[in-house]
């Protein structure tokens, strides 16, 4: 493609905004009342993160892993792949994130949770809350509730909420070799951040007014992550984490 510089993002847009919104409408119809379960699970997560308990890492990761795996299958593979050639790749990336989170939950080689008062933890809980109330955005923009994008089922709120959770996490330095730990943590961050940029670009080409939101929140998460290092100076997680 020697003329690659002549292409714009809109040249790769294969579908209309109406078709994109219908994906969520059909997804919601298929999975109802799964939305209630997903929101309840996210609210439970929010409550757990608020407690800042060190013994809840595995439960948190299992919950978020389920959200990513569900989104990979139900949204990307079952729906989005029908209108976008890139969707199987997105499904693979979401499945990889979900698998990593699941592995961390199962092995217990994960993390503890930061103390509720830490600025980074507060930013994380704020992002998770934003992801939980994400469907309200569609209502404000005049879209029907049937097209709501719900955390755990739709990719945007799932990625945003996960960035929030990652902010609250405190990694167990002793559980993995340094390189492996850093690689896994980097990947856990990279996939949701990358998705926020991809969805921002997609929504921008669709002229959707909320295009800026996911990229802006991803940048906010990256900024908040600098408030304190990934591995905090707190003691390693309690044995109950394993």
């Amino acid at each position: 493609m020697s003329e690659w510089w002549t292409y714009r993002p809109s040249d790769f847009l294969m579908f209309s905004e109406r078709t994109y919104r219908r994906l969520f409408e059909l997804l919601n119809a298929d999975l109802w009342p799964g939305q209630l379960v997903a929101i309840a699970a996210a609210l439970l997560l929010f409550a757990l993160l608020r407690r800042g308990s060190l013994g809840l890492g595995r439960l948190v990761f299992a919950n978020v892993a389920a959200a990513w795996l569900c989104t990979a299958w139900a949204f990307f593979w079952q729906r989005y792949a029908g209108i976008n050639w890139a969707a199987p790749g997105f499904a693979a990336a979401f499945a990889l994130e979900g698998s990593l989170l699941l592995a961390l939950a199962i092995t217990g080689r994960a993390a503890g949770l930061r103390a509720a008062g830490e600025a980074r933890a507060m930013a994380g809980r704020g992002l998770l809350l934003a992801a939980i109330v994400y469907p309200v955005l569609g209502l404000v923009l005049g879209r029907p509730t049937s097209q709501a994008e719900v955390i755990g089922l739709a990719p945007d709120p799932t990625a945003i909420g996960t960035l929030g959770i990652l902010l609250v996490c405190r990694w167990d330095e002793s559980s993995l070799p340094g390189g492996a730990r850093l690689g896994a943590v980097a990947l856990l961050w990279a996939i949701p951040v990358a998705w926020c940029l991809v969805t921002g670009l997609t929504l921008w080409t669709l002229h959707a007014p909320e295009a800026i939101i996911a990229p802006a929140l991803a940048l906010l998460a990256l900024w908040a992550a600098r408030l304190s290092p990934t591995s905090s100076s707190l003691p390693p997680p309690h044995a109950a984490d394993r």
């Binding site: 003329e3 002549t6 040249d11 294969m14 579908f15 078709t19 994906l23 729906r79 029908g82 209108i83």
Partner: protein, 305 residues
């Protein structure tokens, strides 16, 4: 055979008359105006139907049926050519669904493309496309965006020679690789070339359209509305009063009449998901057409907005 050649020559001569021939047609009949495919003399309605974005609706049954209704209105208004590509997601399957639902398989002029970087995979992709359209064969196959054209073109020409395809073409869009397009037009026995052309993007007027006339190659025009952006911009302005001189009822017909009145253009393929819009688009193939002076006036007016 002699008769066929004579008819072809007559049709070609009529086509060469360009805009003048449309006025006569408009007063003589209400059917959509046609223009002859230079290589065969077969008449094609001036307005076809594109499927990029609009027909990529996945397996959404409601949306598929809505697309079928667009196709029904298109055929009812005299349309024939529908253009798609394996690059367009689910569009081919949606066209196939529409053809079955509207019973229009015998009416359609089926134009599709081959789009793979591997010449060896071309035939399999074409067969997949054909099965998605639910048709025994395509009328026209084009090499999409010149992708691997040295490999695909011989395949398509062989299919044509074997009677498994009626026409062969190449495509580009948005002004890309025009030099290469010209080289292929000048050296290969293709029937169709597909390019972008509209009131603002007029580069093809310089070399490609004259070359198409010289080489007797039919021209399909994509992105007549700049994927909707042109119409969106034009809707902010009033249609000039003199547009009634060429029987335009809106900017869409204004834009389409400008395109299809160029004597080298065989068919424009606007895409839409709206029955009302497809009827409006098909209306551009009716009524009086602009002559060369009017075409200059149209382009100048839009450029000045």
């Amino acid at each position: 055979m002699q008769t066929a050649v004579t008819r072809r020559a007559v049709l070609a001569r009529l086509a060469a008359l360009g805009p003048l021939s449309f006025v006569g047609m408009a007063t003589a009949q209400s059917a959509a105006a046609t223009r002859a495919i230079p290589s065969s003399g077969e008449a094609l309605p001036l307005v076809g139907l594109g499927t990029w974005i609009t027909f990529n609706v996945g397996d959404d049954g409601v949306a598929r049926d809505a697309c079928a209704e667009v196709m029904r209105a298109f055929f009812a208004a005299g349309g024939r050519m529908i253009d798609s590509s394996p690059m367009y997601g689910s569009s081919q399957a949606v066209v196939g669904h529409g053809l079955v639902r509207t019973g229009s398989a015998g009416r359609v002029f089926a134009a599709d493309k081959v789009w793979t970087s591997s010449g060896a995979r071309g035939p399999a992709q074409i067969e997949t496309s054909r099965s998605l359209w639910n048709l025994p064969r395509f009328d026209l196959l084009q090499v999409h965006n010149l992708l691997a054209w040295p490999e695909h073109l011989p395949t398509l020409l062989a299919m044509k020679a074997a009677g498994r395809l009626r026409y062969v073409g190449i495509t580009t869009s948005e002004g890309r690789r025009h030099r290469e397009i010209e080289q292929i037009m000048a050296s290969r026995p293709i029937d169709f070339v597909q390019v972008s052309y509209n009131l603002l993007d007029r580069e093809v007027e310089q070399r490609i359209l004259p070359l198409a006339q010289e080489r007797r190659i039919a021209v399909i025009v994509n992105r007549p509305f700049r994927q909707g952006d042109l119409l969106q911009d034009l809707q902010r302005h009033r249609l000039p009063a003199w547009a009634t001189e060429i029987d335009c009822d809106g900017w869409a017909q204004f834009a389409l009449k400008f395109i299809v009145s160029h004597p080298a253009v065989t068919c424009a393929i606007p895409a839409t998901t709206s029955v009302a819009h497809v009827r409006q688009n098909m209306g551009a193939a009716r009524g009086r057409m602009p002559d060369a002076a009017m075409r200059r006036r149209m382009a100048a007016h839009v450029a000045a907005l």
